[in-house]
């Protein structure tokens, strides 16, 4: 017994040292960090454990950066044509020429006209080496529509065109067009999801908060929209857009169409969550203090499951990207001169393309990769949204 103990009557001893609540269960520094961590930090730790999701997140970030710096990364401008090289097949980058290291280069095309089929036949001319240079000057452009520049990541040294992914029916470089197309294809999903997000939260929020006949009407509406096949619905809405709209208007029209049909799933999730949460005491407290329904929903209820909503929204972005691709492929979505991956695939519409110029279906590769990445990334987010699980 220490000296500082005071002796009380009835033989009770009280230790006068200040009480340390952690004295009984010592926490290691790691445990303490976990207990003190904010929600966001917990989610981040959980997300980091999902290696594939992190990898996909980085990949998506790179894709968006690529879209942002398209002018610089693309070897040519969007509309740069070369009638000398129509339907040129992809070239491969080599490093060694006749056993000698010369740095990255491609071989020149040798062109012949097949007199039976009147097709241009391109072969590699293994005697002519076209070296590649980096950070060079090429086509002039206005970076982000403002800064005039002519720098490109890569171009051919000699005045010869290079088509790493081949060229299309006007001799335009497919690689450049895919890079530019990322701008539309990648943003259309984001804007569409924002529209459906707002619609889902507002409509689902009111249905869940008020219940009763509001809920009944919204439920029926959701049922109706979900009972119509998506693609025909898109088609109907896309057909409504006047043909003389400018590309920008059509772009927004498409995002609105994609968003208008997609919100039902989110609204359902919001509704069922709110139905459960609105009975909580803190909601009653807020209501008694005179908070408006919009404030209660927006400030007190929705933030409670926001992370879940974001995660489930991420998973539906691929549907939107595929939707745009499908609409453009059918010629009801975006049209040239606007370039998206769907518009590029529109060129690959008939079976001759698969047979004769198969590289025109290459824009499907970024589509697949981005959709896969969004799926895994969304999976990781969804797991992380519930860091205690």
């Amino acid at each position: 017994m220490s000296k500082s103990a005071t002796r009380l009557p009835e033989d009770h001893y009280v230790n006068e040292a200040p009480f340390d609540p952690k004295a009984i269960e010592k926490l290691t520094p790691e445990q303490e960090a976990v207990f003190l961590a904010s929600q966001m930090q917990l989610m981040w730790w959980k997300f980091k454990k999902h290696k594939l999701a992190v990898f996909c997140g980085i990949f998506l970030l790179l894709m968006y950066l690529m879209a942002a710096f398209a002018e610089f990364l693309a070897p040519y401008n969007l509309e740069a044509k070369n009638s000398q090289y129509i339907y040129a097949p992809p070239q491969s980058i080599n490093l060694f020429h006749e056993g000698e290291f010369v740095g990255p280069f491609v071989y020149d095309y040798k062109k012949e006209l097949d007199l039976k089929t009147f097709q241009r036949v391109y072969t590699e001319d293994t005697t002519k080496v076209i070296p590649l240079s980096f950070f060079c000057s090429g086509d002039e452009y206005n970076f982000w529509g403002m800064i005039p520049a002519d720098n490109h990541l890569m171009c051919a040294d000699i005045q010869k065109p290079i088509y790493l992914l081949g060229s299309d029916r006007l001799g335009r470089d497919l690689l450049s067009r895919i890079i530019y197309g990322a701008r539309i294809s990648l943003t259309i999903g984001l804007i569409g999801i924002m529209i459906s997000f707002v619609l889902g939260i507002v409509i689902g929020g009111f249905a869940g908060y008020y219940g009763g006949w509001v809920d009944l009407v919204v439920q029926r509406l959701i049922e109706v929209i979900q009972s119509l096949p998506t693609l025909p619905l898109w088609l109907v809405l896309a057909a409504i857009m006047p043909a003389n709209w400018s590309p920008i208007l059509i772009y927004f029209g498409i995002t609105v169409i994609l968003g208008l049909i997609d919100w039902t799933g989110l609204a359902r999730a919001v509704r069922s969550k709110l139905l459960a949460l609105r009975e909580e005491d803190y909601v009653l407290a807020a209501r008694l203090m005179g908070a408006s329904p919009a404030r209660i929903i927006g400030l007190h209820l929705v933030p409670g499951f926001m992370s879940h909503l974001i995660a489930s929204a991420t998973i539906t972005i691929p549907t939107m990207i595929l939707g745009e691709t499908a609409l453009s492929f059918l010629g009801l979505g975006l049209r040239s001169p606007t370039v998206s991956w769907g518009v590029l695939l529109n060129e690959a519409q008939n079976i001759n393309v698969v047979a004769i110029t198969p590289w025109l279906i290459l824009p499907v590769v970024p589509v697949i990769l981005v959709i896969l990445a969004f799926n895994f990334f969304g999976d990781g987010l969804r797991d992380a949204a519930d860091p205690y699980g």
Partner: protein, 332 residues
Amino acid sequence: MLGYIAKRFTYMIPTLILTSMLVFFLIELPPGDYFESYVNELIAAGETIDPKQIEFLRTEYGFDRPVWERYWIWATGMLVGDFGYSFEYELPVREVIGDRLIFTIIVTFFTIIFTWLIAFPIGIYSATHQYSWGDYGLTFLGLLGLATPNFLLALIMMYLANQWFGTAIGGLMDPEFVDKPFSFAKFLSVMEHLWIPVIVIGTSGTAAMIRRVRANLLDELRKPYVTTARAKGVPEFKGLMKYPFRMSLNFFIADIGSVLPQVISGAEIVAIVLSLETTGPLLIQALQSQDMYLAGSFLMLLAFLTVIGVLISDIALGFLDPRIRLQGGVSR
């Protein structure tokens, strides 16, 4: 049970009425009507038209009446099997649609069967071998199917089928069988062509299906009764199939209804690429030429099929699960 079925039936009615209103609103939305695009087409072709004749056609088809009246005529007409008149084909819509709807149903049916055949074994394997290489690999394969745009897959498969098996390109049967009465040879030809759309449409749905089978089965497998069964020495396969698997089927039956619009939706674009004689190409054409009753009745029929699908799945669930039967509905 009868009361439950009756209740589900009454739920159907407001849904169908709302759907018909929405559909009619949508097909009314584009500016102008069929006659306008028809006149434009004629002018573009260099022909002259008598405006009186167009006016006559307009009155004849009721285009001078107010919108709600036209809706009423259309909606009540459908109740007695009159789906309106197709301007472009100059035939009643029912005759234009007839065969194509049957082919759509055939393709849809086989696609759903295909999806189940693929998704169930994979889902069960993935759930019992969670986090194994097989689980990851198969899930990835499924996702790859989801990520590949259907129309492109259709193109490539069509090309390969032509190269390897010499299947005629496009269509649901060899050209010589079109418009021929039904025969065994025709049936074989349809089968020979059917597998491409079935696989293409099926691949986009399997990933979601695999995921759900896996998730639902995993939920069941974690329950104590599975451990008890194992501890008592029930063989692994029997212990899996007899209770956990059956329990995990609930979601699957609840889903039959919502699978339909997805499959039909996927089928439309594939049908266009493969030029199948299903509803897809017709619908798009009708939309573009503003052949509004054809398009509208089409959408309505598709929606009707879905509502029936949901009804069937609800009734099946009611039979299987007394909890749902007694509470009057499943919350999804």
